[in-house]
Amino acid sequence: MSLKPYSKLPELNTANVLLVENEEEFQKRLSEAIVRQENSVNVTVRLARCLPLPVENAEGRPRIDLVVFIVHLRSEQSLLSTEASLKHLDSGYFLGKVCFLVTGARSGTVSYERLASIKRTAASLNCPLLMTEDKTTEGVHTAAQRVLNILKVSAGLVPMASGLYLSTLIRCSMPTDSDWQNQD
């Protein structure tokens, strides 16, 4: 059963974000940072390891305004799990309610191929892709803030802006080979 964006009614002054990550450590820190940061809007964070979500929670689950896929470039598994989870998302979400969060892109040990692959995925789905420094508290704080910025728009809390509008501005572009390895 795929997750649908409009099957439930929105609540007043509320935004719900779903963080999908096949490990749990970063997810937990990020969710805490998000909740701690936002005061004006009632933000709830739901954590999941993968999609589809368990059916038994479907009743109590609010409408999800933004799905964030966390991808750790240092692990191949993280990439595969994300690709698999994407299949269980209703196409309605790809109109501005999905974003990718990538960690470890700055590290020298990560293969360029993985980054290119997730960029290709994000670009083909017209989704934004944010880089994150997951190791530092400041990095987590920044990531939380950026997710909140997108969330507020996609939950309709920013006047005259919609998730689709924002994501056309910030969507990921297809990676070119000259991006990275070639300095020439």
């Binding site: 892109a105 700055r106 020298g108 420094e133 190791k135 990531a143 920013v158 501005l169 990921c172 990275w180």
Partner: protein, 729 residues
């Protein structure tokens, strides 16, 4: 001058004895002291160890040899705690390279060869000659060359070393040594050492090994000196070239140098600032970003015609005297920290120096920072200090390094928008003009993603950064543009050759980009006054491009930026908008005059005039004529919608009296006019002479922009309070 005496233990003893003799002891006690000294010298384990190593016979077994073990222990201790004096270096290097006690001990000795002060050139020469004997195992060979590279700056003079350039060159054919040999040659190369057959050899190697970065860099240097010999073309931005060589000694060397410097230089005022080096660190696990200390060693005055090492410069006059025989340090990075070295770079315009500095910088930024193996460390102080030094260097030279540029383009793609924000944006504002064909990919796309997802403060700092980038481009243009013709192909060592139209295209792209992101950004942030203010800053630069910077270009802000300014809630924003419009007017008029005087000057499109006039009409009708939202006034709304708002006389709501920004002044003015009146009736200001007084009152409150605008763009019809806008075009 560094005293080399304090580094060797024997000299230290003797000096203390001399001191005591001055204090008035008898001859006898002096003799006793002398004897004691001799005795202690004979017993000093370090001296004994050195004696042993210089005299030990070839073929002495080392396994289970406790004597050699004990001596090694002494030498290791001295080496790692205070460094080895020059004579010890000579002895030990000779011992190691001659393989008198086998290869294992050779490597072990090389590992601890940490000089306290100077490395005698002759010792290195001797080492090279042992290398030529060809008995050394490969790992010892590479280790020796790596050691020479590490201590290169400490070698007391390099003339003899240059004399055996050919011998050293012959090792390039050794596959394992080649990268290090190329590096060493890179450091040693003079114009006279470049020969046709050497170039041919390197080209041969290149065809065999592929385009290896170390070969490329050496060849590039050859080309700088002798362009006629090397016909190869190099990409303007090369991969970072030489392998890391100093990992074995880095920690020990910096510790010893730091310690010794503290002793030696405590009383000398340094103009060459010596960077404080962090203590021990494992390179593998942590990015190393520091400006290497400019190593200061050899004695001045040993000979007059010798090259003058840059690190010895202390004063500006010294620089002037020795300008013709300055020798660059091996670690080019050390130049970043030294203002004198930068002066030298700037006035000599030495291509090889720039090439080497660029190479070093690219390597440090790329390997040690962008691709740092382990980015866990919260401690960014090293990186902050490094980047700040880089920023101030670029500021000093008034141009960015191409390697910084390459680094930034890559970094923007993996940036989270917070890491080292001030430094990164500071560097970004320094980049030279980006060709308009690539500006979107390199700059706009990554910036846009960061801009729209990040906080208000980030948005402001991006606009600020782009503003100062634009300012630098414009300044660059106004400095380099030749006055008689508008061709500005610059022949400095900036690799960029840019035509006027190329520059204009880039500027147009940049201004339009800021217009776009500011429009949407303002909308997302609910027209925050802070963001409005930074956007105004940007347009204050844009409106004066023609008069101030002589760039024949006038670009109007988009409506999405203009109207938020006009309808802003604070009077400063409206005032600054008026000032900007006044400057646009001045620019347009002067461009028009120019247009009429000289035929070949640039042509401003009708569209620009039309836009400008439209905006002026909008301001006038909104502030003076109370005709906002009416047909033909810029923002139009249908009557039904406006009626629904139930605002009476909605067309007056943004007049100078009712405009939310000025209403406070209007109330104030009302109070002053009719102090006794209880009921507030702002509309009474509109009648008679009061309106003029009110406007005067606003001018007196400091709204200079408003005054400029009124005086230039408004033709007052005396009959009524209607005003007409003075059109340009």
């Amino acid at each position: 001058m560094p005293r080399k005496s304090n580094l060797s233990r024997l000299d230290m003893n003797s000096s203390s004895e001399n001191d005591s003799s001055n204090s008035g002891r008898s001859d006898r006690s002096l003799r006793v002291a002398e004897n004691n000294r001799k005795k202690s010298e004979a017993e000093d384990p370090f001296v004994l160890a050195l004696k042993y190593f210089s005299q030990v016979e070839e073929g002495t077994p080392w396994k289970g040899n406790d004597v050699v073990e004990r001596h090694m222990a002494v030498v290791e201790r001295v080496a790692l705690s205070q460094g080895l004096p020059p004579e010890a270096i000579s002895v030990l290097l000779d011992f190691a390279m001659s393989l008198r006690m086998g290869a294992a001990l050779c490597v072990r000795v090389l590992k601890i060869l940490v000089p306290a002060s100077v490395v005698p050139q002759e010792a290195v020469i001797k080492g090279v000659s042992w290398l030529c004997v060809g008995k050394l195992p490969m790992n010892a060979q590479t280790m020796f060359i790596r050691w020479v590279l590490t201590v290169f700056d400490l070698i007391d003079s390099k003339d003899h070393l240059r004399a055996i350039y050919g011998f050293i060159f012959s090792f390039v054919t050794e596959d394992n040594l080649c990268p290090y040999i190329c590096h060493l040659l890179y450091l040693l190369t003079r114009k006279e050492s470049i020969r046709h057959y050497r170039v041919r050899k390197l080209l041969d190697l290149q065809s065999k090994m592929g385009r290896q970065p170390f070969l490329m860099h050496l060849l590039a240097l050859y080309k700088v000196f002798c362009p006629e010999l090397v016909t190869l073309s190099f990409p303007s931005k090369m991969k970072s070239g030489f392998r890391n060589h100093n990992s074995t000694w880095k920690v020990a060397l910096s510790a010893v140098q730091k310690k010794n410097k503290a002793e030696v230089f405590s009383d000398i005022q340094l103009t060459v600032s010596v960077k404080k080096q962090p203590t021990s660190k494992k390179r593998k696990f942590k990015g190393h970003l520091m400006v290497p200390a400019m190593s200061s060693v050899p004695r001045i005055g040993t000979s007059n015609n010798k090259a003058f090492p840059l690190e010895q410069l202390r004063t500006f006059s010294q620089l002037l005297e020795n300008l013709h025989r300055i020798e660059l340090p091996a670690q080019m990075g050390s130049m970043l920290g030294s203002p004198l070295a930068l002066h030298y770079m700037d006035c000599v315009r030495d291509d090889s120096a720039f090439l080497r500095l660029n190479f070093w910088l690219g390597h440090s930024l790329h390997e040690e920072f962008l691709f740092c193996r382990d980015s866990d460390s919260e401690d960014m102080t090293e990186a902050v200090r490094f980047l700040n030094t880089l920023i101030s260097t670029q500021c000093f030279l008034q141009e960015g390094f191409s390697s910084t540029e390459v680094f930034l383009y890559k970094f923007l793609r993996v940036w989270d928008g917070a890491l080292l924000r001030p430094q990164i944006l500071g560097l970004l504002s320094d980049i030279p003009v980006v060709p308009s064909s690539r500006i979107k990919d390199l700059l706009f796309e990554p910036l846009m993603q960061l801009f729209f997802t990040s906080s208000l403060y980030f948005k402001c700092s991006v606009i600020e950064c782009l503003n100062s980038m634009l300012l630098k481009w414009l300044t660059w243009h106004s400095v380099y543009a030749l006055e008689d013709e508008l061709d500005i192909s610059v022949t400095s060592h900036t690799p960029l050759n840019m035509t006027l139209s190329g520059l204009m295209d880039s500027v147009v792209q940049l201004v339009q980009f800021v217009g776009r992101i500011a429009t949407v950004g303002l909308q997302l942030e609910g027209y925050h006054p802070l963001l409005l203010s930074f956007t105004l800053d940007f347009y204050e630069t844009v409106c004066d491009m023609y008069i101030k910077y002589n760039l024949p270009l006038v670009l109007m802000p988009p409506a999405g930026v203009f109207y938020p300014f006009l309808l802003a809630t604070d009077p400063i924003t409206v005032d600054r908008l008026c000032h900007i419009m006044y400057r646009y007017r001045t620019n347009l008029i002067s461009a028009k005059d120019q247009d009429q005087q000289t035929e070949k000057a640039f042509h401003i499109s009708r569209k620009t005039y039309r836009e400008f006039n439209q905006y002026v009409v909008s301001i006038v009708s909104c502030l003076w004529n109370s005709r906002v939202f009416l047909a033909g006034m810029g923002i139009e709304l249908s009557d039904e919608v406006l009626a629904q708002s139930k605002v009476p006389e909605y067309w007056t709501t943004f007049s100078l009296i009712h405009h939310p920004a000025f209403m406070g002044y209007a109330v104030d003015f009302h109070q002053k006019c009719w102090p006794e009146r209880k009921k507030l009736d702002l509309n009474s200001i509109r009648t008679g002479k009061r309106w003029d007084w009110y406007v005067e009152f606003l001018f007196s409150e400091g709204f200079q922009g408003l005054k400029e605008f009124v005086e230039s763009s408004l033709n007052r019809r005396a009959s009524d309070r209607e005003a007409g806008a003075t059109a340009v075009g």
